[in-house]
Amino acid sequence: MPRDESFARTVRIAIPFEGSVTEASPKAPRAVVKKKGLAPLDESAGAAPFQELLQSLYDGVLITNAAGLIMDVNERAMDFLLYTKAELSRLNIVNIIAGANEALLETLRRNIEQRRYTLIEASCIRKDRTTFPAEIATNRLVLTPEGHLCFFVRNITKRKKAEEALQQTVTRLKEMDASKSRFVANVSHELRTPLTIINTFVSLVNDGIAGAVSDQQKECLVTVLRNCERLAGLIDDVLDLGRIESGREEFHRARVNLTDLLKQCHHDFIPQCLLRHQQLNLEMPETLPDVLCDRDKIAQVLTNLVGNAHKFTPEEGIITLRATQENDTIRIDIEDNGPGIRPEDQSRIFEAFVQLARSEDSSGSKGTGLGLAICKHIIDIHEGAIQVKSIPEKGSRFFFTLPTYAEDKNFDAFIGDRLRYMEARDRQLAMLVLQIGKLPAQGAAATPEDTTGRLEHLRLPVMEALDCAEEQMFAFESNRTLIVLLDGTEQARDGVAARLQRSLGKQRHEITDDICMAYLEPTRAHTPREWLAQALTLLKPLPVGPMETPPARVLIVDDDASVLNLMVRVLHESGVGLDLKSTTSGYDACIHFGEWNPDLVVLDLHLPDIDGKRVYDSMTKRLPHRATKFLVVSGYRSDIDEIMQLGCDDSLCKPFDFDEFVMKVKRLLNLDSRPTPVPLEAPKHP
């Protein structure tokens, strides 16, 4: 199981909270440890200024000895907790923090030894047993040789409430947006059916299938048909715009030969322009560099802009399609000598549903008012610009820019397109990076020939191991790197490295170089470039071939010590090499879970200190991307059913058979299906 090294310095501990609540909903406390040098206390400072400083602080301060017994507090702490100083001096800090125990203190002390400080988000318990959410910063205080611990308590009720309100608003807005999109899609779809029927009958009549038609009748029918077509176009545009705006439209930006694309567009419009005696010119340099774009989408933009020019330019007009290079962008102009657009309209023309009052509408046909809005969305996603310059009575010039193709831009586009697609579907991507050999020295980029062949050998076993499609693969060849994007919700839970090692083992004779690998869990916090940069720092050599996986870690939690010991013993005797930890306490289990990152938790639902369901909840909710599996144990079928509903992996009802227990553990850890190691194959003889 690959462990994300970026989190090596951050230990997250979740302890579920129990007790009455008065102000905010209970939140399990969470400790975030950050590395920080500790400043030694200036021992020469006098007692009076120290007391003055203590009392003037905005935060409540509790000073304890190393064992957590409260030694001193400030006024603010008393206000928060409703205790007197004398009462507090009889308490331990763990009595104040909901869900805290000796194990938490142990963690604090260890963090201090390692020169890291701990930030705990937890509920604090007042004298009247009510609670409030707090952020507690801890540090050491060297007043005596034994050392003291210092807790700075800040009441964060307001912040918590605001966070919750904000979260609720965001959720509601997302839901509203999604239902709006669904509504638009459904309505547009429903409109098509009656339109089809109208259109079909009218054209049947028009074509004389239902009897002879006079010229006058024919003229009426042709008008109906033209408007049917217009309505169909509007429905298509609404659907298109809805998909693009919500991000559900899939973009595939890649290297595209712009010359071909422009020639195609020019060719397609010549017949229509000839009909209206318009001249359609195509001007471009002999050679144009390739651009980075989604070919179909840019073709749509060109069709729209040239179509508009054709529609709004009178007969005998001139339309010019022109491409020019400006540094690392290509600019495409669509120019006409039609009626032009009024200056006050030019700024709004790219907004949806804006229909302009045109000075002269030669063909009598109007657009849907959505075409330019769609164009703008498409060009925005290409990180280009789209604009219009127009002089009334002289003509209009629409132009947009596209980036020229470059490998690094291609990478950003590839990742960006997929991130947007997944985000719109509320899914997340994980990134797997494989690199052949070592990074080329600065300035000595490997030639494509040098690497392509080897990446080819890599592709197949990687695709096989991850069960992914060709489209999910990306070869970033100049850096000898293969990048694979995975649906974070599924594959992330599997042992990616282990599968890859097994699969590559079979191909060992074809890949002679070292292979380095990094796997990054789903994230939304980075730009593609930062994401890759992070991945590259995590690269580690992948031992190709049959491999030794580290023993799986199993955390066993049961309050019945005899059952606990029995479970540990049968697992030891089962002959499966496992790394075991066991505890009878829910609190300890939560702390072990945070620090030790087990592959499997065997959890009894009836624990003396915290309800097992809360333990399960805090473990799964706080760290949703952990690959840890859960096997719950209980004497009550109803409790098991309830927790299985929450998505727990497996369960056992007490009393249970220990063979079944071992079998379930093996299955959850994928140990029964582990194939026997494949010996290295000798190169095939011809």
Binding site: N199, F201, L204, C228
Partner: protein, 129 residues
């Protein structure tokens, strides 16, 4: 004898329009208005070509398609989709399944007739028998 076209479409108005245009082009017609009865009716009628909608009550067009393909009596009859669904995914799915054509509503009736003529003339599995 002229070829027989079987229409599976839940909009009865559209069925009438289809019957009218196909008859004018010289074909015989038969129809079903839902996916469930369609499979049995096709087996009885033994048409030369099927026009199939995707959004059907009870059972969608793709399911009907697969049922027809699994039955030896109907597996070789060419099927043309006629649907309001215009997404790339649906078109791809139809192509992967082996549809003889895919027409999006609203459509030009002359285009439909042209496609029907082409499919019937093609040396496909049905025509080759």
């Amino acid at each position: 004898m002229s070829a027989k076209i079987f229409i599976i479409e839940d909009e009865s108005d559209l069925v009438r329009a289809l019957v009218m245009m196909l008859k004018s082009a010289g074909y015989q017609t038969a129809c079903a208005v839902d996916g469930i009865s369609a499979v049995d009716r096709v087996r009885e009628e033994k048409p030369d070509l099927i026009i199939l909608d995707i959004c059907l009550p009870g059972c969608n067009g793709f399911e009907v398609f697969q049922q027809l393909r699994q039955d030896p009596a109907t597996e070789r009859i060419p099927i043309v989709f006629l649907t309001a669904r215009s997404t790339v995914e649906d078109r791809q799915k139809a192509r992967h399944l082996g549809a003889a054509g895919y027409i999006v509503k609203p459509f030009q009736w002359t285009n439909l007739i042209k496609l029907v003529q082409e499919v019937l003339a093609a040396p496909g599995p049905a025509a080759g028998q």
